[in-house]
């Protein structure tokens, strides 16, 4: 079943971890660091939106019962 491009939480959080670990390398050049930082912020925003939506969904399901 072809689902519309599903949000890949695992992949995105892995990417974020990679970025953070690259950024922690003391040899990194400032232009590269700036780029990685921006990419990391973008991923954090996406992951946060996803988590917030998931939270709302779950709360809706729980509210259905009580």
């Amino acid at each position: 079943v072809a689902k519309k491009s599903e949000f890949d939480y695992r992949r995105k959080s892995q990417e974020l971890e990679d970025i953070v670990s690259k950024l922690q390398n003391p040899e990194i050049q400032i232009d590269e660091a700036t780029k990685l930082h921006a990419a990391g912020l973008k991923l954090i925003d996406e992951l946060e939106v996803y988590l917030n939506q998931a939270e709302i969904e779950v709360k809706k399901h729980i509210a259905k019962d009580s």
Partner: protein, 265 residues
């Protein structure tokens, strides 16, 4: 002498029990678990009896969707054992055998219920393909049988509701964990960039100091002079001879000079 009375019947039933047990009819490995709740029940009892009505009523109150195949039999009297055995056989031979056989009747004296302890009936039950209740679990009443066979729908629904609540809470706990993690990543990300900036700034500072240290004009300002001959910097007195024309570079200009004397250190 023909023995009569309840005591005798009880004694006979005990003897039969012992005999069949010795044959292995009640061995644990012969027993099959009753599916809970069963999908199909063979109900062997008298039509129109309280036992029949009670069983069906309780079954429907507690659970739905159980198929009941009813086998109408006499539950007491001479013909009862043969009818019960025939019903058990028919139930077992059906295209869709039941998950459980319920052979039941209302209460009565030991004499009344003697048909249920009849050797042939006990054998038929023990040899039945589906797991049976009568021999495995002695339920006290037909209603009690229905209760043993099925869960209470209301209880199950309440459990499901609780489960849904628990699942939701578990999921929320996971979401919370991930949010904390995300915050840590943000902190790390910002710290990484900050460190990178500081490192870069320090590198630039070091290079500036290095460049300044090697800056010749700084030395000239302190009073040193560069000596050139034919455009090349002279580093040794041995490169100079008396009468040689040289150019002196000072911090604010140049001057021409002629060597009048040399002396090595």
């Amino acid at each position: 002498v023909q023995p009569v009375g309840e005591g005798t019947i009880r004694k006979a039933a005990d003897l039969l029990q012992a005999k069949l047990a010795a044959e292995g009819l009640f061995d644990a490995e012969r027993k099959r678990p009753v599916p809970y709740p069963p999908r199909r029940v063979a109900l062997i009892t008298a039509a129109g009896s309280a036992a029949y009505a009670d069983f069906i009523k309780i079954l429907n109150v507690r659970w739905r969707g159980v198929t009941v195949d009813h086998y109408d039999v006499l539950v007491q009297g001479e013909q009862a054992p043969a009818q019960i055995v025939a019903a058990i056989t028919a139930a077992n031979a059906g295209a869709e055998p039941p998950d459980v056989l319920v052979v039941t009747r209302g209460g009565g004296s030991a004499e009344d219920i003697a048909a249920f302890s009849h050797e042939q009936v006990t054998r038929a039950v023990a040899l039945s393909r589906p797991a049976e209740l009568a021999a495995d679990q002695r339920a006290s009443t037909p209603s009690n049988v229905a209760e043993l066979l099925t869960p209470d729908r209301k209880v199950v629904l309440r459990q499901l509701t609780e489960l849904r609540q628990e699942l939701g809470e578990d999921l929320l706990a996971i979401v919370d964990d991930r949010k904390i993690w995300l915050n840590q990543q943000l902190t790390e990300l910002n710290r990484g960039l900050k460190v990178s900036f500081e490192t870069t700034r320090f590198r630039v500072h070091t290079m500036r100091q290095l460049l300044e240290a090697y800056n010749p004009t700084a030395a000239l300002q302190r009073g040193y002079a560069l000596v050139r001959a034919d455009g090349r910097v002279i580093k040794s007195v041995t490169s100079l001879q008396v009468g040689r024309e040289v150019e002196l570079q000072l911090s604010d200009g140049t001057a021409a000079a002629t060597i009048t004397k040399t002396e090595e250190l």
